[in-house]
Structures are given as structure tokens and as C-alpha cells.
């Protein structure tokens, strides 16, 4: 177990810089998710921690020791790849024991440790099978088994669940989380799926175009997104965003482009007439309020009702616990939960309030 620190890490291919100075501190035993859209550099970053990708500048430290120039094999890390990368010519037991074999661990001890890992992962009946004889979920487990038998300092996961079907993904998600709670090994987990990041991680790093947009706990990111990108990326359905102007005063309001007035609890200082984005999450709407919307689509799921409506000429989504009898085309009056309204600067995208 160890801490992992990235200090101003950069990666360039020739002239073209893809990671622009990323600094992340991961303390011992933490589960950190690197999340972002494809091409944001999250996998590259992970591979730089693993030593599979050279670091152009900056420092990667594992357990306070700079590992920039260490070979992957000397970093004491274990990695789970997206396509599992199981050795096709070795059976499950040999796949899991290979790393120990390379470290010249005595055979009996290897067998013992493989067996223990197999028990944790329910793989005991499959130890003599070959990867091609396993299902996707089983292969995924073997890949994890290969990582845990080593008892490494750090686990690195590179989108490990993206090749599984939806149901299995949810199941494996819980299993990985449980495994982490049990082993308490420092984990860096790369995913493009914000739900995975939210549900599993202690700390989320949102990356976008090779830049860290925000680092924080899942709920911090959800409740106080630092900018428009994080606000739009975290949460499903996504946050509703309406463009307009802030009108402070005795009763501060937000004026959308078509003149619709939306309530604000307070206006940031010096914000009179400032162009801004008014954001609120679909579940932070309550029925019966000062804002008129026109219903476009109603999607009942039983536990909740999702409503797509038009507000100030823009499409918004609301999620309500109550059942709604209104029909498309009718007017629904709603009110945003004032304490959960986010304001972002229209030009910089940074959070105002």
C-alpha cells in the first residue's frame, strides 16, 4: 500500500502536448477515479503511472519515491486492462500466478496465494480452464485475480468494465468496491462512465483535454461543480442549463434570453447584468412554482417520472417523485430548489455561486 502523487505531469507527442501539467495527490488506501470523455488523457495518465508511457516532464511518485525512470516491473503496481489481456496460452491459475512466478516466489506459496485469490473471486472451479473457455465476467475476474495475488502497492484499472453488459457491469462494480474495502489497496480507476466514478470512488478527478477540471469527493463534484464542464459531465440526466443575465436587487432574479424570470436566493456581488448560465439538476425541481414550462414528453418509470419540457425556449428535464397526470402540450408550473441552483460565468464557464 502506498500513496501516489503526480506533480505537474506533462505528456507530449513531438510538439503536440496532450497532458498539460496534471497534479493529483492520492493518499494511502484511497480509491480514486479518473473520469472524462474519451480522448481526455485519462488512460495516458494511468499508463504513465504504470510506466508503460514515458513521462515528458513532471514527477510521478509512488510511496514518496520518484518512479519516472523505473521500469513497470520495478514499480510494484498491478494493472487491469480494458480487454483483460489474459495470456491465452496459460490457464487461469497460471495467469494469476505468472507475476509471482516472475518474482521467483516458491511454487507452493504461489499455489496457495492463487487459491486464496480464486476463493475471493469465486474462480476456484475455473482454475484449470483457459481464458477462451471463460465468459466475459469470468475473464474480468481473472484479470482482477492476477492483480490481487501480487498484493501490490497500487492497483490500476483501465476501464475494466466497459466490455461487459450493463447488468454484469453493475454487479462487478459492487464487487470491485467490496474488494477495495477488503484489501484497502490504493487504487486508481479510469472510466468514462461518471456513474461508475460516482458510485465507486472516494475521490474523483475530472479530466478534460489533458487538464484537471476538478478534484473532489463524488458528492462535492455533484453539489458544487467548479465549472460548466464538470456540471454537465457529472450527473444523469445532465444538469439543465439556461443562458441569461443576472438581475440582482431586493429579490434577485435571473433573466433568461427570452425574458423569462427565474428565482435566485441571492446574487453574487458585482454581477448586475452579467451574462451567466443558470444551472439546476432535474431532481431539484418541485411542482408548483413561479416558472411556467410546456411539457414535451412524459416518461414514467414507476418510481419516478421524468418530464421533458420547454423553458425559456430551451429543453429542460425534470425528475419528480410524484406521478404526473398532465399531458404533452400542457403547462406545468415548477420551481427550482433555490439552494441547489448553480450559477456559472457565461464567458469563462467558472462557477459564480
Amino acid at each position: 500500500m502506498a500513496s501516489v502523487d503526480l506533480v505537474d505531469v506533462r505528456k507530449a507527442y513531438g510538439e503536440h502536448e496532450v497532458i498539460h501539467g496534471v497534479s493529483i495527490g492520492i493518499s494511502d488506501g484511497q480509491f480514486v477515479a479518473l473520469v472524462g470523455p474519451s480522448g481526455c488523457g485519462k488512460s495516458t495518465l494511468l499508463r504513465m503511472i504504470a510506466g508503460l508511457e514515458p513521462i515528458t516532464s513532471g514527477e510521478v511518485r509512488i510511496d514518496s519515491k520518484v518512479v519516472n525512470d523505473l521500469e513497470p516491473k520495478d514499480r510494484d503496481i498491478a494493472m487491469v486492462f480494458q480487454n483483460y489481456a489474459l495470456y491465452p496460452h496459460k490457464n487461469v491459475a497460471d495467469n494469476m500466478g505468472f507475476a509471482l512466478q516472475m518474482r521467483r516466489v516458491p511454487k507452493r506459496q504461489i499455489a496457495e496465494r492463487v487459491k486464496r485469490a480464486a476463493e475471493i473471486l469465486d474462480l476456484v472451479p475455473y482454475l484449470n480452464r483457459y481464458p477462451r473457455q471463460l465468459s466475459g465476467g469470468q475473464r474480468q475476474r481473472v484479470a482482477m485475480g492476477r492483480a490481487i495475488v501480487r498484493d501490490p502497492k497500487v492497483f490500476l484499472f483501465d476501464e475494466p468494465l466497459s466490455n461487459l453488459d450493463a447488468k454484469l457491469r453493475v454487479q462487478m462494480r459492487a464487487e470491485i468496491k467490496e474488494l477495495h474495502q477488503r484489501l484497502k489497496t490504493t487504487t486508481v480507476y479510469v472510466t468514462h462512465d461518471q456513474v461508475e466514478a460516482m458510485t465507486m470512488a472516494d475521490k474523483i478527478v475530472v479530466l478534460h483535454d489533458g487538464v484537471v477540471e476538478q478534484i473532489g469527493s463524488p458528492l462535492e463534484l455533484y453539489d458544487r461543480p467548479a465549472n460548466l464542464f464538470v456540471a454537465g459531465f457529472i450527473g444523469s440526466p445532465a444538469m439543465n442549463m439556461i443562458q441569461g443575465i443576472i438581475r440582482p436587487g431586493a429579490t434577485p432574479t435571473f433573466e433568461a434570453e427570452d425574458g423569462t424570470r427565474l428565482p435566485l436566493s441571492s446574487a453574487p456581488s458585482n454581477s448586475d447584468g452579467r451574462k451567466a448560465i443558470y444551472g439546476f439538476r432535474p431532481e431539484h425541481l418541485t411542482i408548483g412554482g413561479p416558472v411556467r414550462t410546456e411539457i414535451t414528453v412524459i416518461e414514467p418509470t414507476g418510481s419516478e417520472t421524468q418530464v421533458v419540457a420547454r423553458l425559456a425556449g430551451q429543453k429542460i428535464v425534470g425528475v419528480f417523485r410524484e406521478r404526473i397526470s398532465a399531458r404533452p402540450g400542457e403547462v406545468l408550473t415548477v420551481g427550482p430548489n433555490l439552494s441547489s441552483v448553480h450559477l456559472f460565468d457565461a464567458a469563462s464557464g467558472q462557477r459564480l455561486q
Binding site: 504504470a50 513497470p72 516491473k73 494493472m79 486492462f81 480494458q82 480487454n83 495470456y87 491465452p88 496460452h89
Partner: protein, 298 residues
């Protein structure tokens, strides 16, 4: 899938007959030369010229051909210069093809691995161009190379030596080996090696412990193909060897006596020469197919 095939087969019975008819015809066309070679080795001059084909009906089989190379039942126990000659040529062929193929597979696999995994720049040439450059060696007709090689080998004292033949054959099959092996290595996901690196391998041990075992079927296929190509090679063997390093194909071709071609002995020699290839074809064919159809990694 299975049920679909069954219903298809049942409802399209005439189609099946046509397909099997064509396949049988094609098999006949392919196998007839082999049959002809083997049957001719048991014929005498009259039977050959009159085109008798079916033993015991058209002609009475006779050991004449095999006797002339000392391989018939009655001559096999006696000393025979013809047999010694044959065995020497056979040995030359075996040594030249196996050594050249082994050398080509070792060198070719290394080159192919490099081309598949690393980016090279050689002047304006990149990996793709280098691969094509290798393959382009095959475009050159051997005749063009005949004189240069003759002069070169004379200077290097490689004329009529097995070493000379081995080197030349290695050169000849190397492009094909590189091409096959590059395809092989391309199908092995990079992540496998990276996983091995993380698991504690160096670049070399990752290659030897992970990549090589997975690429083995392809290497076997490349080796067998090389052996066949070398075994059948005639042109350079005829040009560059004489008494010492002469190979089987050259010996087969030289079975022309003063009264014309000794069909029976030529057929007997050919039969002996192609038997190893037939054995390879029958027993190792599935390895060749397996090795050449990529996607062995899944």
C-alpha cells in the same frame, strides 16, 4: 446455425450434388499428377509411351524404375551407386531446406516483431515501406540474379557448397517469413506484453514467455512453407551446385539418358522426392491453416 445448415442441405439436395461433383473433379485434377508419377515409376518404356494408366489392367507393374535407383526390394540389400547418389542428394535437400527455413524463421520472426512493435525510420521509409521493401525482393526474377550470384559465389568460394545453398535459400524465403510473422505479431494485442511488463517481465522475457508461445503456430506454418519452397527449388540449385551440394530436383531433372528420358527412374526419383511433402501436407496441413488464419488470440 446448425439447424439452418441442415434445412439448407435437405432442401437444396441438387446443389449439394453439384458442389460435391465439382469438389471430386477438382480433387481428381489435383491428385492425378501424383498418381501418374507413382504409377509411372512402376512402368517400363512401352507402358509409358502407350499411355497405359491402370495397373494390372493396362499394364503389369514392374520394379524397373525403382531398381534403377537401387530402391526396389531385390536391390535394396545390395550396394548400389545409384542409391548412394540418391541418398546423398536427399540429404543435401533435407539439410539445405531445414537449415535455411530454420534460419529464415529465426531472422524473419525477429524482423517481423520489430516491424510490428516499433516504429522505424530508414531514410524516407517507415515500417510499411520497409515491409514492402522486403516483399518486393520477390518481384525480381531469379534469372536476373543468376549471373551476380554465380560471380559472387565463385569469389566467396561458396559454389557447390551446402552453406552457399543455405544462405541463398534463407534469403529466398525470408520475405515470406517476415510477411507471415508480421501478420502474426500484429494480431497479438499490445496489452498482453504490457501486462507482462507490469507482471514483472523485461522486454525480452515478455517476448520469450508471452509473445513467442502465442505466435508459435504461425512460426510453424512459416517454417513448413519455407521447407516446401526450398525443397522444390531448382533454378539456383542447378546453377550453383554440381557434384557435392546438388539437390534432389536437380538429380530428377538429370535423368535423361542417351536414348531419351528415363521416365521410370525419373518417376521413381520424383516419387521419393515428393513423399516427404505429401506427408507434410497430410499431417501438418491443419497447423499451416491454423497458423495462417490469424485471430488465434481471443
Amino acid at each position: 446455425m446448425a439447424t439452418q445448415a441442415r434445412t439448407l442441405g435437405a432442401s437444396h439436395y441438387p446443389t449439394r450434388i453439384i458442389i460435391y461433383g465439382l469438389l471430386i473433379l477438382w480433387a481428381f485434377i489435383c491428385l492425378f499428377p501424383i498418381y501418374w508419377t507413382f504409377s509411372t515409376s512402376f512402368k517400363n518404356a512401352v507402358n509409358v509411351t502407350q499411355g497405359h494408366l491402370i495397373p494390372w489392367m493396362d499394364f503389369v507393374p514392374d520394379w524397373k524404375g525403382w531398381r534403377s535407383v537401387g530402391l526396389s526390394p531385390d536391390t535394396i540389400g545390395q550396394t548400389s551407386t545409384a542409391r548412394e547418389e540418391f541418398l546423398k542428394r536427399f540429404e543435401n535437400s533435407v539439410i539445405a531446406s531445414l537449415s535455411a527455413s530454420a534460419l529464415a524463421v529465426i531472422i524473419g520472426s525477429s524482423a517481423a516483431y520489430g516491424l510490428s512493435r516499433f516504429s522505424y525510420r530508414f531514410g524516407p521509409m517507415r515500417n510499411k515501406d520497409i515491409s514492402f521493401f522486403f516483399l518486393a525482393q520477390l518481384i525480381l526474377p531469379p534469372v536476373v540474379l543468376a549471373m551476380p550470384f554465380l560471380v559472387l559465389y565463385k569469389e566467396l568460394a561458396l559454389l557447390d557448397t551446402r552453406i552457399g545453398l543455405i544462405l541463398l535459400y534463407t534469403l529466398m524465403v525470408l520475405p515470406i517469413v517476415i510477411w507471415i510473422m508480421r501478420d502474426q505479431f500484429d494480431t497479438i494485442p499490445l496489452e498482453l506484453e504490457q501486462a507482462a511488463l507490469v507482471d514483472g517481465c523485461s522486454v525480452w522475457s515478455a517476448f520469450l514467455r508471452i509473445v513467442l508461445p502465442i505466435a508459435l503456430p504461425g512460426m510453424v506454418a512459416a517454417f513448413i512453407l519455407s521447407v516446401i519452397l526450398c525443397w522444390n527449388e531448382y533454378f539456383f540449385a542447378a546453377l550453383l551446385t554440381s557434384t557435392n551440394a546438388k539437390t534432389l530436383p536437380v538429380m530428377v531433372a538429370s535423368q535423361t539418358g542417351s536414348q531419351g528420358i528415363n521416365w521410370w527412374s525419373m518417376a521413381a526419383l520424383s516419387a521419393a522426392a515428393i513423399t516427404p511433402l505429401i506427408v507434410i501436407g497430410i499431417f501438418l496441413e491443419r497447423y499451416i491453416v491454423k497458423g495462417l488464419t490469424a485471430g488465434s488470440v481471443k
